[in-house]
Symmetry: C2
Subunit: 249 residues, 2 copies
DNA sequence: GGTCAACAGATTTTCGAAAATCTATTTGCC
DNA sequence: GGCAAATAGATTTTCGAAAATCTGTTGACC
């Protein structure tokens, strides 16, 4: 029974596949913030019928990646300064709790997973090509895995799920900032420090470093997006204004 | 243009109506934990086609009220001691943060809303009839509104959304405990004390009282469910075991 | 010239049938 | 008798067409 990942992915139902692809396309900003998600266009893009698409979109709405309006259809969730800072503030609080619990309760197996996750991450390049302006999908996967490994031993499925949701939303803002400046910050050292504090069971230090890690990301992303000429328009809000400026340009 | 609530509800799309009804039926335990949600049965129950039902179920899965398995369909999310205590621990942490922010930032308008919400709640009976063993839907609505009013000024849509989701999940456990014992705890005084601490901007006291409020609910619900002969089966986990015991009895 | 209603095109929403998948039972074989 | 494959029934999953709704435009009327 050859159960390769390829097979496993093909064995998925269509709505599960569409959900995965849509999520990836939105987080990676292949579908830009506030972009209208016409069912017809998505039907063509993913080569499926209406049902799997609507189901996937409904699911993504709950994750805050998609917005929905009665009889008006779906959009990629918009972005704004306020939402970004709200998101990051909330992430800090959630991860502070989860990290504390995790460090207090983590076993040796947890330590081992954490070390392994860091090792995998440390061997990857963050960006794809030299001028691509996009984050490597492997790096993204391992980065997410590392941050999950940090809080994995918290013993709360609820907090883990919230952590994942917020992390994913934050990833979208990071992708946007990378698109605009093509410079990613080198934060491997920060990750290592957080890990070491966690391994030493130094809760206060781990929590503080994690908070600063998130705050630095927030600052970098905020500045990148404010100074990006093409992308700052996404921050101004109303879609009508944006459409006009794009049509004019 | 008479825009009554009746009209507004009828103007909803079908999947929005089904979502609302399903959510209410699950939180109120008209649909019991772990119960299989056959599409055919739901189609008949809510008198719609497949699409609106699947969309609503997908949405509820994200809220943790429904579980989904590939090609096997949907179930009402199961309940367990572990999930209950995880849920309540997480609620405490979330509401602690949100309440702190809310008390620190709340305006007079917030105070007024809070007082109004408490007043409405204080004039309602918790249970429906004398022996109905079910929570009054008006009380439930106002209870939720009161707890939301407490944290409404936190300034974070993210935290508010999480608070709502967890509160709703907790409501289901409370409904279950009421079904089993028909005795609800009289907690109007607790609510009043939390409110007063919040109005006095005494963050520490408000947060502590809120924590104790949730912990008391947790203890009461946990005990009610453990001692309830018919319902403790829901707590034992695997559906197979439960099915056998029900089929035998 | 400005405002409102009606219309046409585009899009979303819903349905019911058809295809794919699973589950439980039966049958055949060892 | 016990085990595995085949089968039938039930259920989920997907599709494509039809109905409902919205949006922007045209044209009539004031």
């Amino acid at each position: 029974m050859p159960d390769t990942r390829q097979d496993a992915e093909q064995a998925q139902t269509l709505h599960a596949r569409v959900l995965r692809q849509l999520r990836s396309d939105i987080v990676g900003c292949q579908l830009m913030p506030n972009e209208r998600l016409t069912l017809e266009a998505l039907r063509e893009r993913y080569e499926v019928g209406w049902s799997p698409i609507r189901e996937a979109l409904m699911r993504l709405e709950a994750d805050g990646l998609v917005c929905f309006e009665q009889n008006k259809g779906f959009r990629v969730a918009p972005v704004s300064r306020d939402m970004l800072s709200d998101l990051m503030r909330s992430r800090i609080e959630i991860e502070t709790v989860a990290l504390r619990w995790s460090v207090e309760r983590g076993s040796v197996a947890w330590e081992a997973e954490l070390v392994a996750a860091f090792h995998r991450l440390s061997r990857l390049r963050k960006l794809n090509g030299k001028r691509s302006g996009s984050i490597s999908s492997e790096w993204s996967r391992e980065h997410r895995a590392f941050h999950r490994a940090l809080v994995a031993a918290c013993g709360s499925a609820t907090m883990l799920s919230i952590q994942q949701t917020l992390f994913e939303q934050a990833e979208r803002y990071v992708a946007l900032s990378i698109m605009s400046k093509a410079s990613a910050r080198n934060d491997i050292g920060e990750h290592e420090q957080i890990m070491q504090a966690a391994l030493q069971r130094n809760v206060a230090r781990a929590v503080t470093l994690n908070r600063e890690h998130i705050e630095r990301t927030l600052n970098k992303v905020m500045r990148a997006l404010e100074s990006a000429p093409g992308l700052s328009a996404w921050f101004e809000g109303r879609s009508a204004a944006r459409r006009r400026s794009l049509a004019a340009g």
